[in-house]
Amino acid sequence: MKILIADDSRVMRQIVVRTLRQAGLGGHDIIEADNGRTGFDAVVEHRPELVLSDWNMPEMSGIDMLRALRAAGLDVPLAFVTSEGSPEMVARAEQAGAMFVITKPFTPESFRAVLEPVLA
């Protein structure tokens, strides 16, 4: 599966990739973007089957990227990986069409619990 990881932290992008592997969900084709705008462009160019996105990023936030994707008719499944997991944010994410929210700090177990059904 082709997966886009959007996060302004290069370190966090690496951790997401590593955690997927540790969760037994590795071996996918990974594309990276460092903000919502480049993430949007990467979706258009590479047509990933899943997007894992940070929320709080410069240039364009994750939620704005999601809204832009949906407005452009791109319905790629998107999940947020963010430190901001309040009920308010989860509701906003779901309203905008996100699958779910994974809260930082996360573990391989928490990744497996939500992503295994999607990636299996």
Binding site: V11, Q14, I15, R18, T82, S83, E84
Partner: protein, 161 residues
Amino acid sequence: MSVEVEVNENDLAEMVEQVWMSYLDPEGLSPLIPTYDENQPSEVHSSVSITGSWTGHVVYGCSTAAARRAAAAFLAMELDEVSPEDLSDVLGELANIVGGNVKAMLPPGCFLSLPQVMLAPEATTKYPNTERISGVYGLWDGEPVNVSMWQSRNDTKEEDA
């Protein structure tokens, strides 16, 4: 607008512990040992600001050695492989993770800033009209790590009124 602070030192300690368990010490071999010393020194720090129903800052400060060690743990690499960019990126992400979790405990209507990183002691950054309301201070393999919350005095004055 102001709200009562709903994040206490125990909450902050739990968030810090989760960061240790998830990224810095997943095997539980090197926990952060509390010192309760809010004056312990730091050499580098990062922060995020929260504005809205609560206004203030969350600051992560530590020694350069602790920051390098955190970067090595985050990136699963050796200490001497950590670049200055890695160190800054990890410091920013640590403030972002703790700050985001703090924000999640506050009432709706708060905004979290992007992190700022300063490769200088915490004392070099001033947060005007704020006071430190909470903190977790400890040693990680003998190196100081401080996580503190600073609240706008405008907020605290309204609470006192």
